[in-house]
């Protein structure tokens, strides 16, 4: 497929592009949804095509087609150049392109069990069994399970000489139980909301012991219907790892995207409260806060060999001992900001323009365990598993809801609380991080549904986290 990608690049160059790159992508997705022991959905999707990007002056153009005949591929390159030329009608400042090594390489996700080779009956049976267990609990109205697998081959060629093939395998899923009361619904999910996804094969599903947790999850969903409502207060907030991972995603991951900081996403996703002049001086959080963007973490969902500009995967410090020190960037945004390119540009399939996306933006672990944190907390709440999330366009004002919470009194978990929410302002909130569990509870949580861009693109991102505690947080916000 390198030849096909090269043909697209040549088409763009012949039409006047100063630089061009192209990706031929073959992506396969398998989606299985089971609801109350019935197979609701068995989809196998495949997309094959080429996307080509052309730069003329300071303007980009991008064209994509699924028609892989030589004439069509070449025409896509020419069209990308024509689009770039039209962009020049409303052109911007001169475009620089940061240098990266010109690689000719291949890379593959390490995996044990090809998820597409595991029989569909085994996968369906797994979900039927967990929904059966959950339905066996009195009060559970809906029990659903999902598995999704991704197999992506992409061939990247640039006019600078890149020739990179990657084979990326991602696997994951999860399940949830819903109990329905008179005027409310309560849900519990496992391993986390929307499922847990990682790079790797079917072994990443097996390790989560789906069947061993179904009964507990279902019982909790039913118990929530009669649990006390969380009262509004300011208190110590202990977050379970997957909720802390989403907190990182929303209030750090998006805020550090250089395209947002530069205003490129202003109209849709928004901008950022971060200003480049304050890089290396802005206080993002407490001393315990150490965030990295690490695309090399084995097994994490945002792990790859090269990004979609051919930049090698790397680990970049983002927040060090509470101080903001790094961003997520690509070749053009990094050059504009005078920073080294971070290799964080990816496109959602052959037909989407690569853009700055999170890799694995995670919080490095602290010490001890969740139990230690609870033992050391006189008064507070422990919240687990995301239920809702909302944050403003600068990634400053957020409100999260979780599926479940427990009060913490005198170092012990107390009664269960329903409809938990908490709200805060990003730097103030992170400034109150005062406890962080250690490596034994550090998990590479995966977010398979990160939306950004127009046309919309969905990225798969990783967020390593262990449970942590924040002080003086406003919880229990009511309608």
């Amino acid at each position: 497929m390198f030849d096909e990608a090269g043909l697209a690049v040549q088409g763009a160059l012949d039409a006047g592009a100063a630089y061009a790159d192209a990706r031929v992508v073959i992506s396969k997705t398998e989606t299985i949804n089971v609801r109350n022991q019935n197979l609701d959905q068995m989809d196998r999707d495949e997309a094959i095509g080429v996307g080509v990007r052309a730069l003329i002056g300071s303007s980009w153009g991008f064209a994509a087609t699924a028609d892989l005949t030589n004439a069509s591929i070449r025409a896509a390159g020419e069209r990308a150049a024509a689009i770039a030329r039209a962009s020049g009608l409303v052109s911007g400042p001169p475009m620089e392109f940061a240098d990266v090594p010109v690689s000719q390489d291949s890379w593959e996700t390490p995996y044990d069990e090809d998820p597409f080779a595991v029989s569909t009956s085994e996968k369906v049976d797994l979900l039927v069994n967990v929904t059966k267990t959950m339905q066996g609990v009195d009060g559970v109205a809906i029990a659903t399970g999902n598995l999704t697998f991704y197999d992506t081959n992409k061939w990247f060629v640039s006019s600078q000489g890149h020739r990179i093939h990657q084979h990326i395998v991602e696997s994951g899923g999860g399940y949830d139980a819903t109990a329905i009361g008179e005027a409310e619904t309560q849900r519990r999910s496992y391993p986390q909301s929307f499922g847990q996804y990682e790079t790797g094969g079917f072994e990443t599903v097996r390790k989560w012991d789906y069947e061993g947790n179904a009964q507990r999850i279902a019982e909790q969903a039913v118990a929530l219907l009669t649990a006390d409502e969380m009262e509004e207060s300011e208190t110590n907030l202990i977050l379970e790892g997957s909720q802390l991972a989403l907190q990182i995603h929303e209030s750090v991951g998006h805020a550090i995207e250089l395209d947002r900081i530069l205003g490129w996403e202003a109209a849709f996703a928004g901008t950022s409260h971060l200003e480049l002049e304050r890089l290396h001086t802005h206080r993002y959080g407490s001393d315990l806060m150490n965030i990295t963007a690490d695309a090399t973490l084995p097994g994490a969902l945002g792990t790859f060999g090269y990004d979609d500009e051919g930049t090698p995967a790397q680990r970049v410090d983002i927040v060090k001992n509470g101080t903001w020190v790094g961003v997520l960037s690509g070749r053009d945004s990094a050059a504009m900001a005078g920073l080294p390119p971070g290799g964080m540009v990816r496109g959602d399939g052959y037909n989407r323009l690569p853009m700055v996306r999170m890799t694995n933006v995670g919080l490095l672990p602290g010490e001890g365990t969740l139990d230690d944190i609870i033992s050391d907390t006189e008064d507070g709440v422990y919240m687990s598993t995301n239920r809702s999330w909302s944050i403003d366009d600068k990634r400053l004002n957020f409100q999260f809801g979780t599926e479940i919470a427990w009060e913490v009194k005198n170092g012990k978990l107390g009664k269960m609380l329903k409809n938990p929410t908490y709200t805060g302002i990003t730097p103030q909130f992170w400034g109150t991080l005062d406890r962080l569990a250690g490596e034994s509870e550090w998990v590479h949580w995966g977010t398979p549904n990160c939306g950004k861009g127009q046309p919309m693109q969905v990225a798969h991102t990783g967020h390593s986290a262990s449970p942590g505690r924040f002080s003086n947080v406003r919880v229990g916000v009511k309608a």
Binding site: A47, A66, S119, S390, D392, Q454
Partner: protein
């Protein structure tokens, strides 16, 4: 016969009599020119050609999509889909396929929009940007042209085509932003300069915003904010799957809303978009969802209709097995008041241009949290006075429209952007008696 119809027929021929099958084809182009900091920074165009095949083998069902449509690729695709279905358990909820049918006449197509080139989109962007002299413009201009075709082994064949165009964006000062939006089936029907002018005006009017105190306020919601309410009612309330699962607020025949509030799916309304059938080939028709405040109908696919003991309303969409049916031509009934008259009816309240990042806290009560964005203003003594900073709300969307709560409907109905994107909701501005703001952007 067009490319989509040919693909449908070729695929059904390859399936032959091996099983029951339905095929949808989506063929066309989608182009989007994006700008920020007052220049075009992303500019894309895609040839779309996607085929979806669903097969049923003795009650066992599987579906697949592909972009590979050469004869060899199609043959492999068909064989693999049938093989996958054969190894599944029986789908007890499978509702079968519909037979031959007629769809309403609709050709929501504009030839110039279908042929719009990157320069046409760039010119629209330039008009938007030029309308905000001294400001920073950001947004997009989109055009698309699509042919949809559906066929199944029960003899149903339907096809149609549509175009859409959108100009959407903001202008920004160093401390504020304002938005503008226009959409329809034709790019020529959009005055990009006027959209940019509104955005610029809102941005300039928002300079010097102050933090309003959280609490209950009367509100006037511009069409973008109103569209977000409508789309949440659609997805979480009138959704037949949510209703069947007991997770919807909707109670048929009940006066759940103010009698001024009317909501319908209107594929035959002037200005309607898309093709007049869903992804199961079911014809669409005018469907009242709320009439004078009374909940009158739910949205159904064949699957949810079977469970409810009724007929599909033609609201199947890709992913409906998971998320349920979805209306794509929603209309909120308009009134006769200008925006100035709506504002004049508010002694003390908030004018909201747009909501942002809205998320459901509880689907059954439809309690939602979100923020305001791109133009939020204080209303005092019937006039817009000072700009306020973005505010967070936590509010039941059903309660906000409850009997006695809708105090006015604007005469400005149009297609508006929503939390789920543009081109789904046609709505006027709304004046509501109460909205619960729970915090400012700074806490």
């Amino acid at each position: 016969m067009n490319r989509g119809q040919n693909l449908v027929n070729e695929t059904l021929e390859m399936v032959g009599d091996r099983c029951e099958a339905e095929v949808t084809a989506d063929v066309g182009t989608h182009s989007l020119t994006r700008f920020a900091n007052s220049f075009i920074h992303q500019n894309v165009s895609e040839d779309v050609e996607q085929l979806t095949l669903k097969v049923e083998v003795g009650g066992r069902v599987a579906s697949s999509t592909t972009t590979g449509t050469t004869p060899d690729a199609l043959a492999r695709f068909v064989d693999a889909t049938i093989e996958t279905a054969g190894s599944q358990p029986v789908d007890e909820d499978w509702a079968g396929m519909g037979g031959p049918t007629e769809v309403i006449a609709a050709d929501n197509w504009d030839a110039d929009t279908a042929d719009a080139d990157p320069m046409a989109r760039a010119e629209a962007v330039k008009a938007f940007v030029d309308a905000g002299e001294g400001l920073l413009g950001a947004g997009f201009c989109q055009t698309e042209a699509r042919h949809h075709a559906y066929g199944n082994s029960a003899g149903r064949r339907v096809h149609g085509r549509f175009t859409t165009a959108v100009v959407d964006g903001i202008h920004q000062t160093s401390s504020s932003a304002g938005s503008g939006h226009a959409a329809g089936k034709a790019l020529s029907g959009i005055d990009a300069g006027a959209v940019g002018s509104l955005a610029a005006q809102r941005a300039r009017d928002s300079v010097g915003a102050f933090d309003a105190k959280p609490g209950e306020y009367r509100v006037v919601l511009a069409p973008e904010a109103a569209a977000t309410i409508a789309i949440f009612l659609n997805v979480y309330g009138f959704n037949g799957k949510m209703a069947e699962e007991g997770m919807s607020f909707a109670e048929l025949g009940e006066q759940q809303f103010d009698e001024e509030f009317c909501l319908w799916d209107g594929p035959t309304d002037p200005g309607a978009l898309y093709v007049p059938f869903d992804n199961e080939g079911t014809p669409k028709r005018h469907l009242e969802l709320v009439k004078a405040g009374v909940t009158t109908s739910l949205l159904h696919t064949r699957r949810t209709a079977k469970k409810a003991g009724t007929e599909s309303t033609g609201h199947g969409v890709p992913g409906a097995e998971m998320w349920g049916p979805f209306a794509i031509n929603m209309f909120v009934g308009g009134g006769d008041k200008s925006v100035e008259e709506l504002v004049a009816g508010v002694d003390r309240g908030i004018y909201v241009s747009t909501f942002n990042y809205c998320r459901v806290l509880d689907p059954k009560s439809l309690v939602v949290t979100g923020l305001t964005r791109n133009g939020t203003f204080m209303i005092e003594n019937g006039k817009i006075t000072d700009p306020v900073t973005n505010m967070r709300f936590t509010q039941s969307f059903v309660d906000a429209l409850a009997p006695g709560k809708v105090e006015g409907l604007g005469d400005d109905a149009r297609y508006a952007d929503s939390e789920f994107g543009p081109l789904f909701v046609h709505t006027p501005s709304l004046q509501l008696a109460s909205w619960n703001f729970t915090g400012g952007a700074e806490g």
